[in-house]
Structure formats: structure tokens, C-alpha cells
């Protein structure tokens, strides 16, 4: 057991898999010599050498196209996109090629690859370096979508992603990089599609992801002080989606709130809310409420950015307003 940052957990997770399987390789901009701009790949070049850990040009289509081709030919590559905003620069390869190729070839092609990328806001970087792009990926059939909220989960879910035979987009939240927790020694491997119950409760189900998980947990604490018992579910992966976790919880609590960082329209919260509205409407004792960033790009100024990203107070207000 050692205390680990979320940032260091990324390198540990990658190293765990690279040690185990020589076909795992890592490429991206500044990932090798520099150890990544967020220092999430520190030490990997030294440990695994320049054939397996390699810096690329600023060519996102070459990075993701490159790992796709490599996955077709015997490697299990990990490609880093420095910021998730840059998914847009190679979106064609991600959605039209990586996501569809197994289906369109009727299973001839397997793509065991992982695209890791720094996601989310809170860093005052402005609108082009702060997006939460996990919804873009969730909307595309053929992509698995993972977004851990804790250092331990980074290791376990990264291992699961690397071992998964299908393409995974792995979102590392920039605002969580510095967070720490005690992480068990030895190999950690999770399963995709299993949500975690971060608090147990009877009055309301709060579904969250990545950096919104600590926000939801904080809100649950504040609500407890007001006599409201909240069950916080950390989805951990959007595809596969643990619908049983939240449907079961709502059956108990009768109330559902989703807490998302991304802009409001067509987010994963809408998907969760819609599933609930279709499948457990009779369990509901009130409206389903989505707490989200407003439908705007993230502003750079600290005061505006903090206002835009949901915080615990906002979640508390949403829950109390439902009653």
C-alpha cells in the first residue's frame, strides 16, 4: 500500500501492463523523453526503451491512425492525445475507422487499443483545452468509454482497458491529477462496466463521473447534515454502462440526479435520464434532474470557470429543490 497521485497512477497502470505484455506500446506527443506534459508517463521511456515508448510529431491523425494499424497487426498500442479537445482533430479516424471497422468487416478485424487523453476543466486553460469530451465518444457505436475518478481506479481501469479486445477511449481528468489515495501494491485489474457505490443512501440517487464524483460525494455529505441520505454512484465507464446499478438504486430512492461536467445538451446524463424515464418511471417520486455545465464553452477566468462547473452546493440545491 502506498499513497499515489492520480497522475502517478497513470504511469503505474501503463507500466503494469507493459511489463506483463510485450505487445503493449505507447506513443504520443512528448510522452517519451519528457514523460508527458502532465508527467503521466514519467519513467516509461527509461523502463521500456525507445522502441516501446516513442514521441510523435504533432499529427493526431497519424497517432490514432497509427495505433489502429498497429492494433490490426499484432500490437496492443496505447496512444496519447495530450488534451481530449484534440480528439476533434482526429475524429474521423476515431469514429469512422476505429469504431466501425470490426462491425463493417464482420469481425475480421480486432482493435485492442487505448486512446488516453487529458479531459475536463478547472485549469483556466480556456475553451480549447478544457472540454469534457466523453459524451462525444459515448455517442459512437464501437467505442468503449472509461473515466476513472480515483488513483486506484486509474490503475485498475487502465489495465482493464489495455486488456480489452475492443478500442477504449480513456479519459484522465486534468483536475484530478494531483489527488491522492492509498493504492494497494501488486497488480490491479478491474472490469469495465461496473459502477462503484461511493456512498449508500435511501433518499436520492446521484450519478456522477470522474471529477464530478468528489463533487457528488461532498454534496452527499452536506445533504446528510440536512437529513437527506444520498447514494452516490460513480459510473467509471460509460460504455459498457452499468445500468443495473442506477436503476436498482432508483428503485430504492425514487429520485435521480445526474452530475456532469460537460455542456448540457445530449450528454451522458441525458442518456441516464432517458433510460430511467423509459425503464423505471413508476419508481420515480419526482422529476429527474441533470446538473451540468451550462451549454457554453468553458470560460478561462477563474471566477467564470468555477461558476460554470457544477459544485457541491449546486448539487445540494438540485436535490433539495426536487423534494
Amino acid at each position: 500500500m502506498a499513497e499515489l497521485t492520480y497522475r502517478a497512477a497513470v504511469a503505474r497502470g501503463i507500466a503494469q501492463e507493459m511489463e506483463r505484455d510485450p505487445s503493449v506500446v505507447l506513443i504520443g506527443e512528448d510522452v517519451a523523453a519528457a514523460g508527458g506534459v502532465f508527467k503521466t508517463t514519467s519513467g516509461l521511456l527509461e523502463q521500456f526503451g525507445p522502441v516501446r515508448v516513442r514521441d510523435t510529431p504533432i499529427s493526431e491523425e497519424a497517432i490514432v491512425g497509427g495505433i489502429m494499424g498497429a492494433a490490426m497487426n499484432g500490437l496492443r498500442p496505447i496512444g496519447e492525445l495530450m488534451f481530449s479537445d484534440f480528439l476533434a482533430t482526429c475524429w474521423d479516424i476515431v469514429v469512422n475507422q476505429i469504431a466501425k471497422t470490426r462491425y463493417m468487416t464482420n469481425g475480421q478485424v480486432s482493435l485492442p487499443l487505448v486512446i488516453r487523453t487529458a479531459n475536463g476543466g478547472g485549469t483556466r486553460f480556456g475553451g480549447q483545452h478544457s472540454q469534457s469530451a466523453e459524451n462525444w465518444a459515448m455517442a459512437i457505436p464501437g467505442l468503449k468509454v472509461v473515466a476513472p475518478s480515483t488513483p486506484r481506479d486509474v490503475v485498475g481501469l487502465l489495465a482493464a482497458s489495455v486488456r480489452d479486445p475492443d478500442p477504449v477511449i480513456f479519459f484522465e481528468h486534468k483536475n484530478l491529477f494531483a489527488t491522492k489515495e492509498d493504492v494497494p501494491d501488486g497488480e490491479i485489474v478491474d472490469r469495465l462496466g461496473e459502477a462503484a457505490f461511493r456512498t449508500m443512501g435511501d433518499d436520492v440517487t446521484i450519478v456522477a463521473l470522474a471529477a464530478m464524483v468528489p463533487v457528488a460525494i461532498e454534496a452527499a455529505g452536506l445533504l446528510a447534515a440536512q437529513g437527506v441520505s444520498a447514494e452516490v454512484i460513480d459510473l467509471r465507464s460509460l460504455v459498457p454502462l452499468d445500468t443495473a446499478a442506477f436503476l436498482g438504486s432508483v428503485a430504492k430512492t425514487g429520485r435521480l440526479v445526474t452530475v456532469e461536467e460537460n455542456p448540457r445538451l445530449c450528454g451522458w446524463g441525458a442518456e441516464i435520464a432517458s433510460i430511467a424515464a423509459e425503464e423505471c418511471i413508476w419508481d420515480l417520486d419526482g422529476p429527474i434532474v441533470r446538473v451540468t455545465t451550462p451549454h457554453i464553452p468553458l470560460p478561462a477566468a477563474a471566477e467564470l470557470e468555477d461558476l460554470a462547473i457544477p459544485d457541491a452546493q449546486q448539487v445540494v440545491r438540485a436535490v433539495l429543490a426536487m423534494a
Partner: protein, 333 residues
């Protein structure tokens, strides 16, 4: 343009080249007929007239080498060894289709033969082909990736990223631009400020400028052999521009009327199959041997056509298979 190949190509290879072109020609002609008949649905982008490029490269490749091509990829997939009926079945959306009908005309793939897919977004497969070559390099597998694309594809960003990436990492990939002078309906000359869409860009990546007569199977085979072997032995990528012409329009029933009559006539007079038959005959090959190749090709496509006419569509449950490696398409519990 390079001179006609003066290199020695052994007779059996030359017969194989002829046979390849003939088979591709019959396949594409029949695909057109079946499209007009409504049996092939959606669209078709035929490689009629461009057979020498596909034949020359396929012949020069090892079985474990990898082909990446476009929607205009029937020739390439067939000539890597994919069987004809599953290919035509895919065009017709039948269960017997090589992709079970899920891919369609633009997406022929036969991984077992190294035909690693036909990609319908212009330029997207160049980085993918480079990536496959990178895996070959890492794994020291000795494979080479060959990636075909059109003149129009040279103006999309992925072209630039892929060729640079391949050049700087010295990847074993041969990029082959089939310059047929047109994109869909617009001539390539209208959208580039240089005469040669690929060759005039090669220097950007420290690569040699290579332009060949893409209608001469010997020339193509010769350049294919040289560039593939150089790539295989660690010499890095090549960018080859093969000048050729499509006999039909861009796709479906396009009559190609935007092309000047004289231009069409000049290129029709350079039909790669007619030229090659003449060359072989002049070189002393027995014409009855060539006739037999043609007859066998016709018999093969006739047999395929018969099979396809009676082939059932994919069963409904296949709609939900093979999104994921577990065979299914479930995204939730």
C-alpha cells in the same frame, strides 16, 4: 514518365500479371452489369482501366504483406487472393459476402489474405497503413504495408501526416497514388498548384519523386518489387505516383461526361490489358494460353454471378453481431 520496363520479368510472373488483370476486368465489368440490374446496390467505384496497378503490386507482395485500399478497392482485394464469390456477394449485400453484407462495395476486406480493408473516407487509411507498418517494424515481422489511394487524396491532411510519420520513423510502407486525373467529377489539375499530386510532394518528406506508367503492368511490377524490397530491408517508405485512367465514371452509373472525348479516347487506346496482351504476344507467348486465361476468367465470373443471383441476404440477427470482440453489440447490463 519512366520508360517501359526493360527489366527481366520471368514468364510465369508475366502470365500471372495477365491473369490478374483479366480476372479483375471481368469482375468489375460484371459488377457494373449487376449494379445496372439492381443486384449490386448502393454504389460501386470500379477500377476498370486501373488493373495494372493492382496486378503489379499484388504480384510483388509476400503473402503476409498488407494491402490498404479505398472504396475503389475491388481490384486490390481480389488480386491479393480474396475469393470472387464472397467479394461479389458483399457488393450485392448477401450473407455470403466477405463482410457478411455489413461492409458493402466500399469496404471489402479479407484479412486472411492480407487485404486489410477498403476505406471510404478519402485519405484516412494512410495513417492506418503506416501504423500497420510500424507494428511490423516493432515486431520485426518482415511485413510491408502497401497503401493505394487516388490523386485527390493527396490534398487531405491525413496524407501529409501519414507520409511524414512514415518517413521520419522509416516505416516499411509503400504509398501508391493512382493518379487517374480526376477526383469525382473535378480534375485534379484544378485543385493543386503543382503538376503531380504525389510525386511533387515527395520531397516534403525527404522521399524520391517517383512517377510511373500505371497502365504498364511490367513497369508497375518492377517498381513495386523495388520499393517493397527496399521497405522490407529497412530503407523506409516510398511514395509512388502511377499514372492511369478509369474507363468508367466515378461511381454507380456516372457516364463520366466531364472528361474530354479525346482524352478518353487516348486512354482507352492504352488499355492496360490490351497493351499487355500485345506485348506478351510480341514476346512470343502462345496466344492460346492467353485465350485460356481469358476463358477461365469469364468462367469464374459466370460461376460467381450464378451463385450470387441465388444467394440469400444476411439473416436479421446478424445486424446485432460483431460490434464488439465478444461477437455482440451489447453496451449495457
Amino acid at each position: 514518365m519512366a520508360e517501359p520496363a526493360t527489366v527481366d520479368i520471368d514468364p510465369s510472373t508475366r502470365l500471372a500479371l495477365y491473369r490478374s488483370m483479366v480476372r479483375a476486368r471481368y469482375f468489375e465489368q460484371r459488377a457494373y452489369d449487376l449494379f445496372m440490374e439492381g443486384i449490386v446496390k448502393g454504389t460501386t467505384h470500379l477500377g476498370l482501366g486501373q488493373e495494372a496497378v493492382a496486378a503489379g503490386f499484388a504480384e510483388a507482395m509476400n503473402p503476409t504483406d498488407m494491402t490498404f485500399c479505398t472504396y475503389r478497392g475491388h481490384n486490390h482485394t481480389l488480386l491479393r487472393g480474396a475469393p470472387m464469390t464472397p467479394l461479389m456477394g458483399e457488393l450485392a449485400g448477401r450473407d455470403v459476402g466477405i463482410c457478411g453484407g455489413k461492409g458493402g462495395s466500399m469496404h471489402l476486406t479479407d484479412v486472411s489474405k492480407g487485404a486489410m480493408g477498403s476505406y471510404a473516407i478519402v485519405g484516412a487509411h494512410l495513417p492506418i497503413a503506416a501504423g500497420a507498418a510500424w507494428a511490423a517494424q516493432v515486431r520485426q515481422s518482415g511485413q510491408v504495408s502497401v497503401c493505394f489511394f487516388g490523386d485527390g487524396a493527396t490534398n487531405i491532411g491525413a496524407f501529409h501526416e501519414a507520409v511524414n510519420f512514415a518517413a521520419v520513423w522509416k516505416l516499411p510502407v509503400v504509398f501508391v497514388c493512382e493518379n487517374n486525373l480526376y477526383m469525382e467529377y473535378t480534375p485534379i489539375s484544378a485543385v493543386i498548384p503543382v503538376p503531380h499530386p504525389a510525386a511533387d510532394r515527395a520531397a516534403s518528406y525527404g522521399l524520391e519523386s517517383i512517377i510511373i506508367d500505371g497502365n504498364d503492368a511490367d513497369v508497375v511490377y518492377d517498381m513495386a518489387t523495388r520499393t517493397i524490397e527496399r521497405a522490407r530491408s529497412g530503407g523506409g517508405p516510398a511514395l509512388v505516383e502511377a499514372l492511369t485512367y478509369r474507363h468508367k465514371g466515378h461511381s454507380r452509373a456516372d457516364p463520366g461526361k466531364y472528361r474530354p472525348d479525346e482524352e478518353v479516347a487516348a486512354w482507352m487506346a492504352r488499355d492496360p490489358i490490351v497493351l499487355y496482351r500485345e506485348r506478351l504476344t510480341a514476346a512470343g507467348f502462345d496466344p492460346t494460353l492467353l485465350d485460356e486465361i481469358e476463358q477461365a476468367g469469364l468462367a469464374e465470373i459466370d460461376a460467381t454471378t450464378m451463385e450470387i443471383r441465388n444467394a440469400p441476404p444476411p439473416p436479421p440477427e446478424t445486424m446485432m453481431t460483431q460490434l464488439w470482440a465478444d461477437g455482440g453489440s451489447q453496451w449495457r447490463n
